[in-house]
């Protein structure tokens, strides 16, 4: 009995004491930054129709959900992400609102996906969506908010890599690849497997193109990357992607956040979903991206209301893990002083005194 009671299903966690305080404080800090940029919080249901997530994230992602049948016999799923829910809300309930619509969220998501790197089946996402603007200032805003969030929570050593799917698409359009080939190529680029990529491309293009293509996928760095990219591509889709990157980067330089930003032209991970600028957040001490974001102009039309959108999210579990390991993090909660009160025999007196102390903002503990 006692051993089965102690058993916890794999992939979930109980969190208590200092860790809870840290997480709540991070959450408050992040949400107040979002509020400061006029994002209003939306509270979303824990589960919704399974179809909805397939519509939003594609069948493959939707297969990673926890599904069950509702009383009406319809298939439901625990939310594997928030963006589909936000998009559906905007498409159905916010049609009259004047764009851009700025929304933020914070909550647990559930994915039946092999736990990796300390992430469980259940994890906490905090993020925002900027919907209804296709202008570059929306992308820039989201990037700038992300930097502010990371600075506010006390993270110092972090890099945001900035990419653009258009850059890649412009080159791929000229190769005649079917869907499977595109996926294979994207995986090779994502893993930076250059030798394999070169091999893969042999049937499709000449050696000179292959060499410059492989060079492009490893182009990472500051402003110099933009120059080099311009020298290597000439098609209009790629060129306008480079223009976007340059314009955003220029603003980042002017407002002094470019130290945290790298341009990464080899970021091909979210190519099915994202349609423009993309970014990933990396922090020292964490093996994979802490958060990611980008432009997804296609998604809203899946819900019947075409609208451009850009957003990002971070994983609270990872952020909390990082900050807990850094003693200098400014979010480490300071232990509050508390007054100990003995319950004694006169409970009225005890609680009267306790209430007085509470009214004065003091912490009490009745022993």
């Amino acid at each position: 009995m006692s051993s089965s009671l102690a058993r916890i299903p794999p992939g979930v966690q109980y969190i208590f004491d200092a860790e809870v305080k840290l997480r709540r404080r991070i959450e408050r800090t992040v949400m107040s930054v979002f509020e400061g940029w006029s994002y209003s919080e939306i509270i979303l249901p824990i589960f919704d129709y399974a179809d909805l997530f397939a519509l939003g994230m594609g069948k493959e992602q939707a297969e990673m959900t926890y599904r069950f049948t509702g009383q009406d016999g319809k298939l439901l799923a625990l939310r594997p992400e928030m963006t589909s829910l936000v998009a559906r809300t905007v498409a159905t309930r916010f049609r009259q609102r004047k764009p851009p619509i700025r929304l933020s969220y914070s909550g647990e998501v559930f994915r039946w996906n092999e736990p990796r790197n300390g992430r469980q089946y259940e994890f906490h996402q905090i993020g925002l969506e900027h919907i209804g603007s296709q202008r570059l200032e929306a992308d820039t805003e989201v990037l700038v908010v992300a930097v502010e969030v990371l600075r506010e929570v006390g993270l110092k050593d972090f890099t945001i890599t900035l990419g653009h799917v258009g850059f890649f698409n412009g080159i791929v359009e000229r190769l005649s690849l079917d869907e499977n080939q595109r996926r294979e190529m994207r995986e090779l680029i994502d893993r930076k497997e250059n030798d394999q990529l070169d091999n893969f491309l042999k049937p499709f293009t000449d050696a000179a193109t292959r060499t410059s293509f492989c060079r492009l996928t490893t182009l990472v760095g500051k402003r110099e990357v933009i120059q080099e990219a311009r020298a290597l591509v000439s098609n209009s889709t790629s060129s306008s992607a480079v223009d976007d990157l340059e314009n955003v980067y220029k603003i980042a330089e002017e407002i002094g956040i470019d130290g945290h930003i790298d341009i990464d032209l080899g970021d091909a991970a979210g190519l099915d979903y994202y349609t423009g600028l993309t970014f990933k957040i990396f922090a020292a001490g964490l093996g994979s991206a802490l958060g990611r974001g980008g432009r997804y102009d296609q998604l809203l039309s899946n819900f019947g209301v075409p609208a451009p959108a850009v957003g990002f999210s971070i994983c609270l579990d990872w952020l909390a893990g990082l900050l807990a390991s850094k003693a200098d993090g400014k979010l480490i909660p300071d232990p509050r002083e508390r007054t100990m009160l003995e319950a004694g025999s006169d409970l009225v007196a005890t609680f009267r005194q306790a209430s007085k102390l509470r009214a004065a903002g003091k912490a009490v503990e009745i022993t």
């Binding site: 790197n117 300390g118 497997e193 394999q196 093996g287």
Partner: protein, 223 residues
């Protein structure tokens, strides 16, 4: 206190270890012989800039994915099995071998029956299951940690999925290759965050290793 090492490199012990350390030596990163013979698991190179972890091959992608090591050297076979989320920027060329399905000659002649469950013994459960499932063959995986050939010889499994370098062990035990699943060579893998956060140091190593590899006589790379 001396300066902290800039990068941590995980090396697969065993088959690939000597070639891997030689390769690093050729780009000027070397560890003293006495450190190697000692039982230390973490050794610093002579410049003090790099620390090496010598770990079991299957653990290399784990250390790298979690960012405990920034770089790693292990076989493609190990990477396929682990499906670790890492960058894989360089084929180092050495340690060439292949992952095969093998069995007794009579099994080979019969091929797989798509309605009969194939019993497969292997150290590569994920790769093996994927191979058979893709072909629509129901599969039962028997996970072993060594001498996999024996499973086929003694009839524990109809066939095996294993790594083959020269084919000698198979031959000596009367087994033949049924199909090649994939070729494998040693790969350099890089943690996704280190790739960006330690960009200069990581790119420096990748470039100098690439330069050394491409110098090599091409016959040692192309089979």
């Amino acid at each position: 206190m001396t300066a902290m090492p800039e990068l941590t490199i995980a090396i697969a012990k065993g088959r690939l270890q000597d070639d891997a350390l030689n390769l690093f030596r050729r780009v000027g990163i070397s560890i003293a012989d006495e450190s190697l013979v000692s039982r230390k698991l973490l050794v610093i190179d002579s410049s003090g800039l790099f620390s090496f972890l010598l770990v079991k091959p299957a653990d290399v992608p784990v250390y790298v994915e979690y960012g405990v090591a920034d770089l790693g050297v292990c076989g493609r076979d190990v990477l396929m099995e682990s499906s670790a989320d890492v960058h894989e920027p360089l084929d180092l060329g050495f340690g060439r071998c292949r992952l095969v399905v093998a069995g007794k000659p009579d099994v080979t002649a019969l091929g797989y029956d798509p309605v009969v469950t194939a019993r497969v013994a292997t150290k590569y459960p994920r790769v093996a299951a994927d191979y058979f499932q893709r072909r629509g063959v129901p599969v039962e995986i028997i996970m072993l940690s060594g001498s996999v050939e024996l499973a086929s010889v003694l009839g524990l499994a109809g066939c095996i999925v294993d790594l083959v370098e020269t084919g000698r062990t198979l031959q000596d035990n009367g087994l033949v290759v049924i199909d090649t699943i994939a070729w494998s060579t040693a790969r350099l893998i890089v943690n996704r965050a280190s790739y960006h956060l330690k960009r200069a140091a990581v790119a420096g190593i990748i470039n100098s290793l690439r330069a050394v590899i491409t110098q090599r006589d091409p016959e040692t790379i192309v089979a």
